[in-house]
């Protein structure tokens, strides 16, 4: 009797245990499947540039499954894309606790450190990578960005040249060279890369990049004061609709483009030659009359466009305007011969 009871008990516990294991595993599978579905839907949002929709979904997955590597990685990238790098770095650290040897995580973390202006930490993070990644273009690009932030332009240039040796058409490396020419005030280098990137006939080039410091974008206009060949002055008259003189100002801050198109455009204007103790100069005078747009603050800039090219840009004018006011800008461009 006892034997039978024992068998029944064993059988009962066996079935019960199996049932429990089955249920747990099914539940876990269901959660996993549900999480996978959620992650997939988040990824779909990311694909259509709706990161704002993807982030709460990934956060929801992590609430249920804090160690879900897939969700952690995607959320870290989503945070990076929405300029929330401080949050990304926390997630990258968590991933590295779970899986310490993840080169792509070190890379993402370094990119983030650059984004929040901590290039020293970016370089330290990259140092933890295996040497085999030293010549990886993404890693080199991140190092370039870090050294630019540290104002170590020569080192950045060396790394950029390394990328260009392997891949001369690398878009990012060419952009970096142009950016470096901007920071290194090397307008000869700038000319080379402006032509390489934009070709001989650039189209629709705006100027906002140079006026606001480029913000990591591509500079097309460069500060005239760093040019060895050109000296440019601009004087702006502000007049009202009755032609009465309101103001006359010189701009101290002028940008021009070292692209060859600049000289090509100048050749359309009359020039004269002057000689003084500093050498011989070819002088071009351009006079333009324009009605500046009335904005909410004050007129702070004037530009000279030729077809689609913004080739001259003077700013820091700071004159309040009212409708009807117009300006006459006189540019004098002296080229050393």
């Amino acid at each position: 009797m006892n034997m039978i009871n024992k068998k029944y008990r064993l059988l009962f516990f066996g079935i019960f245990s199996f049932g429990i294991i089955f249920l747990v595993s099914e539940t876990a599978n269901a959660i996993d499947e549900n999480n996978d579905e959620l992650i997939e839907s988040a990824m779909n949002f990311i694909k259509i540039d709706r990161i704002d929709k993807a982030i709460p979904i990934l956060e929801e997955v992590l609430e249920k499954d804090p160690n879900n590597l897939n969700a952690l990685k995607n959320l870290a990238v989503a945070y990076t894309d929405t300029k929330m790098c401080n949050e990304s770095i926390k997630l990258y650290d968590k991933i590295l606790e779970i899986k310490s040897n993840s080169p792509e995580i070190f890379y993402g973390k370094a990119v983030c450190f650059n984004d929040i202006g901590e290039p020293e930490k970016a370089l330290l993070t990259l140092k933890q990578l295996d040497e085999k990644f030293d010549s990886d273009n993404n890693i080199l690009s991140t190092k370039i960005a870090a050294h630019i932030l540290l104002h170590e332009f020569e080192i950045a240039k060396k790394y950029t040249e390394k990328i260009l040796e392997n891949k001369p058409d690398s878009k990012s490396a060419n952009y970096y060279m142009l950016l470096l020419s901007f920071y290194m005030k090397d307008h000869v280098l700038a000319e080379k890369y402006l032509v390489k990137i934009f070709g001989n006939e650039p189209k629709k080039i705006g100027s906002s990049c140079s006026t606001i410091g480029c913000m990591g974008a591509t500079p097309f206009l460069f500060p005239m004061k760093h040019s060895e060949n050109f000296e440019i002055t601009a004087q702006i008259q502000v007049r009202n609709e009755s032609n009465a003189l309101i103001a006359i100002i010189d701009s101290k801050t002028i940008n021009y483009t070292p692209h060859p198109i600049f000289e090509k455009i100048l050749s359309n204007y009359d020039t004269e030659f002057i000689q003084n103790e500093f050498g011989t100069f070819e002088v071009t005078k351009i006079i333009q009359k324009s009605k500046p747009m009335i904005n909410s603050y004050f007129m702070d800039r004037t530009q000279f466009f030729y077809n689609d090219y913004s080739i001259l840009f003077a700013y820091n004018l700071a004159i309040p305007l009212e409708p009807g006011d117009y300006i006459i800008t006189e540019w004098i461009i002296q080229k050393k011969i």
Binding site: K83, C85, D115, I116, G117, E118, P119, I148, L149, L150, H151, Y183, S208, I212, G213, C214, M215, G216, T233, A234, Q235, Q237, V238, R239, N240, S242, A244, L245, I246, A247, I248, I249, D250, K252, T253, N295, S296, Y297, F298, N316, A318, I319, P320, E322, E330, I332
Partner: protein, 408 residues
């Protein structure tokens, strides 16, 4: 030289300085091309004596106001007018009435300005992009973007703007509250100097009618925090002197421009009613505060030391620009010279605050010219004249001083 003699000598120097600053500014209103054509490295064929568009109006107003002022001072006005003006100038109003008047002025101002808070700062001011870039790396992140680095050197401003953005999801709200606070501070400072509430209200009215003040009062990128903290530091000299330097340092850490205002503050302290030892103590706290600010900038490898130069001619260019940039502040332009003369007369007649107020008005104009002289990175911009307008408003209020003046 005793204190009275020192004050007389200083008043004399400040009067000459003020007439120079105001003279150059007015000259450029009358002949906008005169100075620039002579000082510019850019040659032009302009008629240097071409009359500026504001010149006839400003000249006419100056003649009328100065003529009227002289007639009043010499008792040459008809008796009824003479007596009425004297009564207005010496009128005191009750606290209750002053609160009612303040509400009548401020409520419509707030109601009419509130819609501006819902304008998109990003589309209004390109500088908002710079602020956002700076916010990403605030406070000590590195960037090659000089303008963003400069924003981040303005710690107090960044904290206040970020707070406005984070709490109200609107970057303009705290700046607007700052502008309202500036109106109150101007009222209280004028009232404290003149011991006359009507004078405070007059100064508030002069400030609130200003084109430049109204233009930038709700702009986040051209906020008035720095002016508020600076004017507050002056008010605190008269109230809680030991906290004055804190407010001044907050002003500098909001906009480094006010560092140039140090001589103005020192003159204000020198002419205040405080005891000599207290004055010395305040100046010492100012010294410590300056040391602290410089230490912070050094620690943070500030951008300021990289953008200095020296070009003396730019002083004149800067003063010329003042006349252009205040072109819509007609009350100020029309009465700057008459007010300067009136304050010189009041100083001569023994009103102790006339000299420091005059120095605040003309010194704050000159500060812009100093910036032009020392940097080609920073230039004088219209909203940087808000302190001048505040001091001008206080100066007008000072004319409404009730206290009988005693010659020193």
């Amino acid at each position: 030289m005793n204190t009275t003699q020192s004050k007389s000598f200083l008043t004399y120097l400040i009067s000459i300085f003020s007439l120079f600053v105001v003279g150059i500014t007015l000259l450029s209103i009358i002949f906008p091309a005169l100075l620039i054509s002579n000082l510019s490295y850019h040659s032009n064929n302009l008629e240097i004596f071409e009359i500026g568009y504001n010149a006839p109006l400003i000249l006419l107003c100056n003649f009328i106001i100065i003529g009227f002022g002289i007639a009043y001072y010499k008792n040459k006005l008809p008796t009824i007018l003479q007596v009425s003006i004297s009564k207005i100038l010496q009128k005191q109003i009750s606290k209750k009435l002053s609160i009612i008047i303040l509400l009548i002025i401020l409520l419509p101002y707030i109601v009419l300005t509130t819609p501006e808070l819902f304008l998109d700062e990003a589309s209004q001011a390109p500088d908002y992009e710079i602020f956002l870039a700076a916010k990403e790396i605030f406070p000590f992140g590195k960037t090659t973007f000089t303008e963003a680095a400069e924003q981040n050197d303005r710690y107090v401003r960044m904290i206040l703007l970020i707070t406005s953005l984070e709490i109200f999801q609107n970057v303009k709200i705290i700046p607007f509250l700052g502008s309202i606070a500036l109106l109150f501070t101007t009222y209280f400072l004028t009232k404290e100097i003149t011991k006359n509430r009507l004078a405070g209200i007059i100064s508030l009215l002069v400030l609130i009618q200003s084109y430049t003040f109204l233009k930038y009062d709700s702009f986040a990128m051209y906020e008035n925090f720095w002016v508020l903290f600076y004017v507050l530091s002056l008010y605190l000299i008269t109230k809680k002197f030991y906290t004055s330097s804190i407010s001044y340092s907050l002003s500098i850490l909001t906009k480094a421009f006010t560092a140039i205002f140090l001589p103005l503050s020192i003159i204000f302290i020198f002419y205040s009613n405080l005891k000599s030892k207290t004055k010395l103590l305040i100046i010492m706290t100012y010294g410590i505060m300056f040391g602290g600010v410089i230490a912070i900038w050094t620690f943070d490898t500030s951008v300021y030391d990289n953008i200095l130069r020296f070009d003396l001619a730019q002083i004149f260019v800067g003063l010329t620009k003042t006349s252009y940039q205040l072109r819509f502040d007609l009350l100020l332009l029309a009465s700057l010279l008459p007010l300067t003369l009136a304050l010189i007369v009041r100083a001569k007649n023994g009103f102790q605050f006339a000299t420091p107020i005059l120095f605040l008005i003309t010194g704050s104009i000159f500060a812009g010219a100093v910036v032009e002289m020392l940097s080609d990175h920073f230039v004088i911009l219209p909203y940087r004249f808000v302190p001048t307008i505040v001091f001008f408003a206080i100066g007008v209020g000072v004319l409404f001083s009730y206290k009988k003046e005693i010659k020193p």
